[in-house]
């Protein structure tokens, strides 16, 4: 095997080497924080370029068929890399001193873990990638070492371990039934009926992924952790590692467990309905902005989970003429919608959390109360106009108002639900979107309609760059969605039989 054979995986390789390098250099040099930030950003940009050069590659298998590089993996890798890059850019204004090398190294390791998961077609590699990303983020969640950080990380860790245990248990059951860890083999084997054990295996796997996706009732760690962790880490958790749960679930459930379609159709119908409703309801009463965002991201996970229900209902259905885009299969459209919402949500949530990071890092000096309290956002439009404007757009985008990325994702996803006969679910999702305006508009009204709570805030360069880039991406996708819809449709095709 020659070196160039692995070209589609150079991105992962580059980031792994860079992460090790960052740790090594960090221990050798003093005050290397700034350099590490630039190094990581450069590495992520390079990796992004490498991934982008194989954007719609035909499925290619590596390492004894355990890793597959295909349009779907590339889609998620782009999402992860973009999120990490934005977080790194914002972090360069915060983590400059001692320990910054560890921070950036952990962040890179987490990114590599997520990328591995998105490519895994074998449950062992998948688990390893999953744990690499999880362990790195456990440490990151406690990174600032405040009381709140530690509590958040602890909860995250305990809950995550339990979920991992469930997932591993589920995997072992799958292996026991199929005699193989490869997804395609499991798919073949699960067509034979193994009795109740298959259902248990399925549900355990769903628990494992549901924890990352933060589906109700596996979501309970999320608000506490997003609130307590350093804000930029929350951005990574909500926007990046949460999406890792989705790609893992897409591959394992839609490919390996397709025989249990009726079971997971039922399970996800319940989970999706519960998740979006409870997420939105709980968000209404929060006063902590990061908690609001946490519940909002739980609700968004509920929307995204609709894709599973759509696939369950319309699996292999005949193509219909949808949205005048020519004949399209509803199940493919459903996954494409979920992917678009994943991409959009990753951007909007990263942006929103970076906004909270900027606010909390600036007001924590002056304010006795919780720096994330919504009262600190009063009059933000006057205090930090760029941040407030970006937050305004992100809130609109999260609520799904056109022309933003959030609207496109929801539009495609909800249409697919209607086309596959799940009108009740689409109606519930749309009602939920309306309900979500309660808390998004509340934040906006604080920022724009209230008297300023203090003097002007200095908006640090790193934060502003990250915010503006995210803003542009969110609006760009909303205004020119065609290319993104096509891309998502290609990625979705990987998961479905042709």
């Amino acid at each position: 095997m020659e070196f160039s054979h692995y070209a589609p995986l150079w991105g992962e390789a580059l980031l792994t080497i860079l992460a090790v390098l960052v740790v090594l250099l960090g221990s050798l040099m003093k005050n290397s924080g700034k350099l590490m930030g630039y190094l990581s950003a450069a590495g992520l940009v390079a990796a992004l370029a490498l991934v982008a050069s194989n954007l719609t590659i035909k499925p290619t298998l590596f390492f004894f068929d355990t890793i597959s590089v295909d349009a779907l993996s590339q889609f998620f890798k782009v999402v992860f890399l973009v999120v990490s890059l934005l977080v790194v850019i914002a972090s360069m204004s915060k983590y400059t001193g001692k320990g910054a090398d560890e921070y950036f190294a952990l962040l890179l390791f987490a990114t590599v873990g997520m990328m591995v998961v998105s490519s895994s077609v074998d449950i062992i590699t998948l688990f390893v990638g999953f744990e690499l990303a999880s362990l790195s983020t456990y440490a990151l969640a406690a990174f600032d070492r405040s009381r709140k950080n530690l509590e958040a990380a602890m909860k995250y860790f305990i809950f995550g371990s339990v979920a991992s245990a469930f997932m591993l248990f589920g995997f072992s059951l799958l292996y026991g039934m199929a005699g193989s860890t490869h997804l395609v083999d499991i798919a073949a084997a699960s067509l034979a009926n193994f009795g109740p054990a298959t259902l248990v295996a399925l549900l355990f796997v769903i628990v494992g992924f549901g924890f990352k996706m933060a589906l109700v009732p596996f979501h309970m760690w999320a608000p506490d952790t997003y609130e307590g962790a350093p804000p930029l880490v929350s951005a990574l958790l909500a926007a990046g590692s949460k999406k890792m749960g989705f790609v893992a679930a897409f591959r394992v459930i839609l490919i390996a467990l397709v025989a249990l379609r009726m079971e997971w159709y039922m399970a996800f119908a319940i989970l999706a309905a519960l998740t979006m409703t409870l997420g939105n309801l709980a968000a209404c009463w929060q006063n902590n902005v990061r908690r609001i965002l946490a519940y909002s991201s739980i609700a968004q996970a509920g929307y995204i989970a609709i894709a599973f229900v759509v696939v369950g209902a319309a699996y292999g259905a005949m193509p219909v003429n949808v949205l005048n885009m020519g004949p399209i299969r509803a199940d493919q459209l459903g996954i494409a919608g979920a992917l678009l919402l994943i991409l959009g949500h990753a951007l909007m949530k990263t942006g929103a959390f970076i906004g909270t990071a900027l606010v909390s890092s600036n007001v924590s000096k002056e304010s006795e109360t919780d720096p994330d309290d919504i009262s600190n956002y009063a009059g933000l439009a006057k205090r930090a106009p760029i941040t407030a404007f970006c937050m305004l757009i992100f809130m609109f985008a999260l609520a799904g108002i056109p022309p933003t990325a959030g609207y496109i994702g929801k539009f495609v996803l909800f249409s697919s639900a209607i086309y596959s006969g799940l009108v009740w679910l689409a109606v519930l999702a749309i009602l939920n979107s309306a309900l979500s305006l309660v808390y998004y508009l509340r934040i906006i009204s604080y920022m724009y309609l209230k008297e300023a709570a203090g003097p002007k805030i200095k908006e640090q360069k790193g934060y502003v760059v990250a915010l503006v880039l995210t803003l542009l991406a969110v609006v760009w996708i909303g205004v020119f969605p065609e290319a993104f819809i096509n891309w998502a449709m290609q990625a979705a095709a990987v998961l479905l039989p042709q």
Partner: protein, 680 residues
């Protein structure tokens, strides 16, 4: 080469808008020169395009936007003449505004909004699809709101802006409904679109009109007409236009005379094939237009506010243009040329009149003609340029308005011989009144004794320059351009896949005229459909000279008679009568006109305040008690429930894990049960 830069026609004013908005405060005169330059560049580009594509090419550029919508540029003869007119007139008005707005603390805001308006209007004109046109249409509406309310601290200005916005909104909703209906009908045809074709593109609409059901066409046409009625101030949505005079006079000239209000006429012209194909579509247009023309002219007769006279006159002239399109039922596409010619000519002399009025107001500081008189002594340039504008408006022979307006009256006669004489009678009466009210205004402003102590000075040259240029056009444009203009505009719809004979059959009008000549010689099929369509337009054009001589010269008599009448009443040198001899304060007709047909009393006082408000009160009660009642109950329930949901989150990690395990158990039980029951 110029065609490649067509997008700059809109992009440059947008740039000027941004620059004026953000840095205009630091520039001399609010950055007005930026707006002038951007619009002037648009004029140069339009001229370049004109030189490239005249007389038989069109420009069509398009790129996908999303789903089956696109953004694109379509410059055909119709769009091109509009582009030329708008860039030209608006450039002059912007130059004038540099003098007029000098010293206003909001000058930067003015020029930013004016630039945005220019961009929107130009974007509206060269849109290649109906959706894009609608977007710019709305932007134009927004700019008009901003500009009418420019002096927003003045309560009357704020109210006028609100009124304009809300009234046109009624039309816009109808317009949108028409677009949706049209889209739906086109989508239901399941057309096989070639690459680069999109459903709402004009060529696609034209090509597939014949397949849409006639009753649907009528509905769509009425929806679009609703939009046009709102934007072009036609009855009954004309009420906002006179009030819109609260804005700076340049705004009145730019928006409410020369450009924005013509958007409605442009829409009908652009969609002329649809109106032609829709049964009763053009009848509605002709009825609305002719009625508005007369109705508004009568009100222009009694107003004392110089700008309101001009505003009523604008409404009336827009009625002429609408009626000109409407009588296209009899003469085919020739009507588009006639109507648009009047639109262009009107924009020259109406912009001129408004700018002259602005010049007068600038000096004497009042709008009330009762406080003017004898102004001509101090403002020679303004007086003579305004005389040219007035003669043109009145339709005095050889002035631009004569050529354009009289042709409308002539084709209305033709419509009369074939279908119905009412539009013709209305238009002739309106033409008499036009001449009278125009010269009533001119004589009472410029001649006679000074009726109050006003400022006596001529305006600066930055204001007079545009007046002179516009006066040249108001004088000579009609004579120079008429024939070429008609034949150029007549070729407009030949660029598309259209068969007016077939459309006329669907529309159910003028059957004898169009089918008969084709059937005369050879069978229809042998003659070729396109030839038939092409021949029909020319036939309409040649019929003009065939009218009886008294129909030909009647408009001249009408115009001169009207001017003489005004002279006898209002020019102190030959005054024979006093208005009070004909009418007094007690005269019910005068009172009726002064009160504007009690529109305010009927529409605001009775309809709005009694009927609508009463209904609103009842609805309000129902809303509060019933709708809100259960909604409040629901939201209280939801939020109450939400509070409980929140309590689940105890912060204790043991509980979390318990919830997780419980969740798995419940799922297992539910799914197993569901399978047992046979639900899945």
């Amino acid at each position: 080469m110029y065609a490649d830069y067509a997008y700059l026609i809109v992009a440059l004013p947008v740039l000027a808008f941004l620059l004026c908005l953000f840095v205009g405060w630091h520039l001399p005169r609010g950055g007005g020169f930026l707006t002038v330059l951007a619009t002037f560049a648009g004029l140069i580009l339009s001229l370049g395009i004109f030189s490239e594509i005249y007389p038989d090419k069109i420009i069509h550029q398009s790129m996908p936007w999303f789903a089956n919508f696109n953004v694109g540029i379509l410059i055909d003869p119709l769009a091109l003449v509009m582009l030329l007119m708008v860039t030209f007139v608006v450039t002059l008005i912007h130059i004038y505004a540099n003098g007029y707005m000098n010293g206003d603390p909001g000058a930067a805001r003015y020029f930013a909004e004016a630039a945005l308006f220019t961009a929107s209007m130009l974007g509206l004109i060269f849109a290649d699809n109906l959706l894009q046109l609608f977007i710019f249409w709305e932007l134009v509406g927004l700019c008009s709101y901003l500009l009418i309310g420019f002096w927003y601290r003045k309560p009357s200005a704020a109210a006028a802006a609100k009124k304009a916005f809300l009234t046109t909104r009624v039309g816009d909703v109808l317009f949108l409904a028409g677009i949706i209906l049209l889209y739906n009908n086109l989508a239901n045809l399941n057309l096989a679109l070639k690459p680069g074709e999109y459903l709402l593109q004009f060529p696609v609409i034209y090509a597939n009109l014949a397949q849409i059901a006639p009753d649907q066409l009528t509905l769509i046409a009425l929806g679009l007409l609703g939009g046009a009625v709102g934007k072009s101030g036609q009855f009954p949505l004309h009420v906002w236009l006179p009030d819109a005079m609260e804005g700076p006079t340049t705004v009145s000239a730019m928006i409410h005379a020369a450009t924005m209000v013509t958007a409605g006429v442009y829409l009908v012209a652009r969609m002329f094939p649809l109106f032609y194909a829709a049964p009763h579509g053009l009848t509605a247009v002709a009825a609305v237009g002719a009625f508005t023309a007369l109705f508004a002219a009568t009100m222009g007769l009694t107003s004392f506010d110089i700008k309101r006279v001009l505003a009523f006159s604008t409404v009336s002239q827009l009625g002429f243009m609408m009626a000109g399109l409407g009588v296209g039922a009899a003469v085919g596409t020739f009507a588009v040329g006639v109507s648009i010619f009047h639109l262009i000519g009107h924009s020259f002399f109406k912009a001129l009149l408004f700018l002259c009025a602005g010049s007068v107001i600038h000096a004497v500081n009042t709008n009330d003609m009762r406080e003017m008189g004898g102004v001509g002594k101090y403002m020679k340039w303004t007086m003579y340029t305004m005389l040219i504008g007035s003669l043109s408006l009145a339709g005095f022979p050889l002035f631009t308005g004569f050529f354009s307006k009289d042709e409308i009256i002539v084709i209305a006669y033709e419509y009369g011989t074939l279908i119905n004489f009412l539009p013709y009678i209305f238009l002739v009466l309106a033409a008499v009144l036009t001449a009278i009210y125009t010269f009533r205004m001119w004589f009472s402003v410029f001649t006679g004794k000074e009726r109050s102590d006003y400022g006596k000075h001529e305006s600066p040259w930055v204001m007079l320059g545009p007046l002179v240029i516009l006066a040249v056009f108001a004088l000579g444009f009609g004579y120079v351009a008429q024939e070429d203009f008609y034949s150029y505009l007549d070729s407009n719809f030949k660029h598309y896949d259209l068969d007016f004979v077939e459309l006329g059959v669907i529309g159910g009008h003028a059957l004898e005229e169009h089918v008969a000549p084709a059937a005369e010689g050879e069978p229809v099929a042998a003659k070729g459909e396109h030839e038939a369509a092409a021949g029909e337009g020319e036939a309409g054009g040649e019929e003009g000279p065939g009218e009886p001589w008294y129909i030909q010269i009647l408009p001249i008599i009408v115009a001169i008679g009207g001017i003489l009448t005004a002279m006898l009443f209002y020019w102190d040198k030959v005054k024979k009568f006093d208005p009070s001899q004909v009418t007094g304060d007690k005269d019910p007709i005068r009172k009726l006109l002064l009160k504007g047909y009690y529109q305010h009393e009927i529409m605001t006082g009775w309809f709005a305040e009694t009927v609508v408000y009463g209904t609103a009160l009842i609805c309000n009660t129902i809303d509060i008690k019933l709708v809100d009642g259960w909604l409040n109950w629901l939201s209280a329930l939801v939020l109450g429930f939400a509070q409980h949901v929140r309590k689940v989150q105890t912060g204790i990690v043991q509980n979390y894990v318990t919830a997780l395990v419980l969740g798995v158990v419940v799922l297992v039980v539910v799914i197993t049960l569901a399978k047992e029951v046979g639900l899945v």
